[in-house]
Symmetry: C2
Subunit: 101 residues, 2 copies
């Protein structure tokens, strides 16, 4: 798998981070919004946002003393494309079976 897709997967494979992504898919939100929407502590959220940031899934948008986060749809699209292509490949090769020695 492409190492970028691997990073995206790791970042998304956490319940709280997945929830953050879903929330950000509807609108841009600042950390204080996410605190009240998820019920998680500010420190915890900040850690998860860093993971999402480093994976390229979200982008911070500083606004005064607030920091809004926006979702990067390209990241999700590349992930979707990758697995759609893999599924196609699997469908073509469904019957193939390597013989056992």
């Amino acid at each position: 798998m492409s190492e970028t897709a691997d990073g995206l997967l790791r970042a998304l494979a956490d319940p709280l981070r997945a929830r953050i992504i879903e929330l950000l898919a509807g609108e841009q939100l600042c950390t204080c919004h996410l605190v009240e929407l998820t019920g998680a502590r500010q420190t915890n959220l900040s850690n998860h946002l860093r993971v999402l940031r480093e994976a390229g899934l979200v982008e911070p948008q500083p606004a005064g003393r607030y920091t809004f986060y926006r979702l990067r749809p390209e990241a999700l699209t590349s992930l979707a494309d990758h697995y759609a292509a893999l599924a196609d490949r699997a469908r073509s090769a469904a019957q193939l079976r390597r013989p056992c020695a």
Copy 2:
């Protein structure tokens, strides 16, 4: 996120399991093939295959004393669809920003 997509993600978010999925996208393979293709121990592979099985990503196909595994493309497709839809939603709502109190 749908809890099924969450399970798929967790299962895929491991380097060795991702590699197994890629290999199985090309052809059906038995455990002994996967052992030599990945270099992992049989015990280790069996554990990972169980995770993939429980997530609905692969399906065992017993053949005598061998066990072939086949990839279930529907699982990958549902994942791809989920994130493609989320990306679309994010693109539509890209400008929205919830005001801070």
